[in-house]
Symmetry: D2
Subunit: 130 residues, 4 copies
């Protein structure tokens, strides 16, 4: 993790027979980007799960502007756009050099072990915007 | 393809260690649903590609309401919400029994071999709403 | 499940930019084939897991003979080759029409909740060869 | 690429509801490992494809010894075990710290644009064992 982005290289398993990255796979890269963003802020998602707090995806809006292909190197930029009581909205961009390929807004909902929404724990909430 | 839906069964490869279907995988089911919808209308996407017409995903909005899990059987319902000059908006729902799990609106853009937008060919456009 | 095979249709998400099915994805189809084989014999893998018996993959040998591509329909044939004390060897073939595309031999090991090998429960063992 | 291995971190998309990495996904990591091995030797698989030489997977043998889980960091070690006239055998290991999780032997076959086997080009063959 350098600053606010992760770097990914595209392999065959990322692509489809249209010769570009398959559209669903960007959601995997976005998961990785959010995970590394949280870690860089001191938020350990894995430990939170063990303590009964989980962030589940509630909504995604995604714009596909240009494709990535085999052996391209892309960067996934991640930032928090809005921090709510029981939810977080992430804004993420995939870039190849300076070209924006894909943009996404993802809403995560904070849930307990019963999968019901609950407030983001007070000790980790400030970390998201640190 | 029965009517306007496809049926899918969930296997391990669909799930993640949160014990539910991984959020990106619904986009695979939506691809399958749109593909079967088109076939049921007489639109053969594969032949269209060979003739230089391709539909690429430009935008997706997706709402996750409830999870599916291992060995669940789900149905993916597909319909055309809006038919534009060079684009189509699909509305899709994933249901388990009568419960809506996931809803998505996907905009496909009609492009030529150069990946630039072009009008939907006149001979296939009426088929989408048949 | 018809007889001893399942039928699958290939979509974009199955393929890679080499314009054929990505080599790892056959292992997903083999999982599906084994799961349906077991169900057809009355072996419910999901219920077994809940009762502390799980079959994990220990070894796979796979031969790739010919590729499948977008919109092909394939059949995955599954049978039990060898039934051991704590393991089962499955033999599986992927065919397109009468052409064998891929063959695989997969060894599953019966484990308990602690992931340590244990004998296949006496009440389900006979079902595998029924 | 450091020396002969790549490092990967495990995310939700790598795992399944058994709470471990899904068995097919190791084949993706092996693809990445072989790709980076080749690049480190000066073999650019992408350029070779454009020049009509492709390496396709013909055979895989894989042993699963221990599982990896969410947020584990694994290393994929890659080396050439045997260099034939028209094929290469790779030996690969996935390790977590010093523990071997998975071992695989993969045979790649050199093919032309017609997907028929052909000798490995004389100018790149020596690079594999450099």
């Amino acid at each position: 993790m350098k600053d606010s982005y992760i770097e990914k290289k595209i392999y065959y398993h990322d692509t489809d027979s249209g010769r570009v990255v398959y559209y669903a796979n960007y959601l995997k890269y976005f998961e990785e980007g959010r995970s590394e963003y949280c870690l860089s802020k001191g938020i350990k998602l894995k430990e939170l799960v063990d303590m009964g707090t989980c962030f589940v995806v509630g909504h995604v809006e995604i714009d596909y502007k240009a494709p990535a292909g085999y052996q391209d190197t892309i960067r996934v930029y991640t930032k928090v756009e809005k921090l709510g009581n029981a939810s977080i909205v992430f804004w993420q961009e995939v870039k190849k050099d300076n070209l924006v390929l894909v943009e996404a807004r993802t809403t995560l909902v904070c849930v307990g072990g019963d999968l019901k929404p609950k407030p983001i724990p007070a000790d980790i909430k400030p970390l998201f915007n640190k």
